[in-house]
């Protein structure tokens, strides 16, 4: 009975331990790390040209208002939306004043749909089209935080405030922070507007859409806002050096940098024996470049011996040119468990062969996206075929023939042996 009691006590104790072990883990469930909410700013052109009546029979302004209402209804909850106007206030002829006419209609923050819709309803086509200043204002509105940022520019005419080139403004604001994309939509655009809007979109990795109907406008803007809400890995900004000795040491991850035409950027990664380094790089063409281009990613030892390289060449219209490499490092020969193996520092060089006509600005450089990953080394192949096995009719024929010959030979040998045995 004592034994039974002891057993019962032990069982109860075990149960209690298990229960206490399980309960806290159930109670303190891990909450996913709070992600910064994506920010989107819609920049709407309210200039005088929006009075034109050529979208589905209504004015461009009316079409834009209708589309905005539909979009504001469909904005996902986690997106912080803001609205900015350009050309909404000054109807006069003074160009200098007109080109500063951009103001924030609804601040970037959690969206109150009714308030935003009311604000949009009050707009009336008024003045100039200062796209450049509006983009600068929008970039300021979206300042701060680690979230993805998107500017959606809806306009119908080209910028009237030269010499500030909105395309260069867009490139500069994209270079200042990472992950700022400008998408453009042109309402019944003419050739110059198209060119300008395409340039702005390509300078930041965004898209250009030409809109002829109201439903196209609302569908597209909703799609762009939803894209901002998509959870995506954010790259880390880094800066490569001119030579390997001064290069930043990178761990596995996604990085972004800027590289000018013909510039070499170096980075360093530590690889232990028994690991494989995988790296890939994409160099974006965010400005007008010549028709032929290329990229090279090279892995070099600290002494300067080239280990492996990846290179790619291309031509024609493109967004990026990419390449990659893998470097498997064999496990250490002497498996000395006490001493930790020393990592090898691999230098990665990124170089591009983009070129551009002389009037294209070279500063800031082209955006680079670099991925670095370190995994276990592969099992090296000791043969061309899997496990050194064979396949095919020739194999069967050869094996059958060999077997036959061996059998014949052995038969003769055994016959001779028996005859020798019998006669002795």
């Amino acid at each position: 009975m004592i034994i039974r009691k002891r057993l019962a006590a032990a069982a109860c104790g075990l149960l209690a331990v298990l229960a206490s072990g399980l309960l806290p883990s159930a109670a303190a469930a891990d909450e996913p790390a709070a992600k910064p909410s994506p920010k989107v700013e819609l920049v709407l052109d309210v200039s005088g040209s929006m009075r034109a009546r050529d979208i589905d029979g209504q004015t461009r302004m009316a079409a834009a208002k209708q589309a905005f209402n539909e979009v504001l209804d469909a904005v996902p909850d986690e997106v912080q939306l803001g609205i900015r106007t350009l050309g909404a206030n000054y109807a006069g002829d003074d160009r200098k004043v007109g080109c500063k006419d951009t103001r924030q209609l609804y601040p970037v923050g959690p969206l109150d749909r009714t308030e935003a819709k009311t604000a949009v309803a009050t707009l009336a086509p008024t003045g100039w089209t200062p796209i450049g200043p509006a983009l600068l204002g929008a970039a300021d509105d979206l300042e701060g935080g680690e979230a993805t940022r998107r500017i959606v520019l809806i306009t119908d005419g080209e910028d009237t405030c030269a010499p500030l080139d909105p395309c260069e403004v867009a490139r500069d604001i994209a270079a200042k922070g990472i992950h700022l994309v400008v998408d453009t939509l042109g309402l019944v655009p003419d050739a110059k507007t198209r060119d300008q809007l395409r340039c702005i979109a390509e300078a930041t990795g965004g898209t250009y859409t030409s809109v002829q109907h109201t439903d196209e406008l609302s569908d597209r803007v909703s799609q762009l806002v939803d894209r901002a809400a998509d959870p995506v890995v954010t790259p880390v900004a880094t800066e490569g050096a001119r030579e390997c000795a001064k290069a930043p040491v990178l761990k596995a991850g996604l990085y972004t940098d800027r590289e000018k035409f013909g510039e070499h950027r170096w980075y360093r990664v530590d690889v232990l024996p028994g690991q494989e380094l995988r790296a890939s790089v994409s160099v974006a063409a965010d400005r007008a470049v010549n028709n032929d281009y290329g990229v090279m990613l090279r892995a070099v030892t600290v002494r300067g011996r080239e280990i492996v390289r990846g290179s790619e060449a291309g031509d024609g219209r493109t967004d990026v040119i990419s390449t990659g490499l893998r470097y498997p490092k064999a496990p250490a020969e002497d498996a000395d468990d006490d001493a930790k193996p020393a990592p090898e520092t691999v230098c990665l060089q990124v170089s591009n062969s983009y070129s551009a006509p002389p009037q294209v600005k070279t500063d800031p450089g082209l955006p680079i996206e670099l991925t670095v990953d370190v995994v276990d080394a592969p099992e090296e192949a000791s043969d061309v075929a899997s496990f050194g096995l064979g396949r095919g009719w020739w194999l069967l024929g050869v094996l059958a023939l060999t077997g036959l010959l061996a059998g014949l030979l052995w038969g003769w040998v055994s016959r001779w042996r028996i005859s020798v045995w019998r006669t002795n």
Partner: protein, 269 residues
Amino acid sequence: MRISRASTAALLAAAALLTTAGAAAADDSSPRPAKSRGESGSGPTEAGTSFRTATAVEQGQRATASASAGDYLYWVFPADAGQRATVKATVTLPEPAVRHGAATWRLDVYDGLRRRQPCMYGMQTRTAAKDAPKAELSCTLRPVRSWAEPWANDPLPGSYYVRLTVLDAHEQDLGQPVKAELEPELIDVGGAYAGDGSLAAPLTAGGPSGDGAKGAAAVAEPDGGWSSGRWSDRWIWTAAGGLLGALAAIGGYRLTRGSGRPAHVPPGA
């Protein structure tokens, strides 16, 4: 003696039949399309705009996207060792009335390390005339190997990115709404491409994406996980060859050994 000879002959015939049947079965079973058992047809309705934001597609699914001409559309699908991928894309262009000229569309496939993969067959670049309603492109990749040297561009198990974009179009046609459809198809090509060695991890660009949900999508596994690459029909061929060789050896032995009794020795000695 007749019986033993007959039985030997029968054994040999049976062995030959077995090996041919086995080899034929292995051959037939190789080019069988590895269709996913899940629902096929419906796929994602949005496409990504860069390698980082590429939308994951499973084989057998039809991915659709609405975009404007000039957008770069990216998708990603997984391919395992021994599979040959064929990617088919269709772009539905706007009405001929709103178009101003021909448009050239282009399909590119990249592996998990963003290296461009060559297409064995298929029209990668297609020019659609001004009045053509759609442009159809396709690309068949080389069969995926389980291991390759670091200096080779061979396709390895992992994710494959597809990029669809317009290469050349009339200036006024850029920005017009188009609809794109993509369908990756994977076929098992079997033992002829089974190589030795295997990677420790598939070539996905997911990396250490701690909190990125899109990173997880990029490392989407094929149905049933990644294969270990140990099985191929080479095992059957080699075993059949060994069996055939052994039987032929026995046959040859019986032929030359005869009854085991030399002719000049009288019986009973």
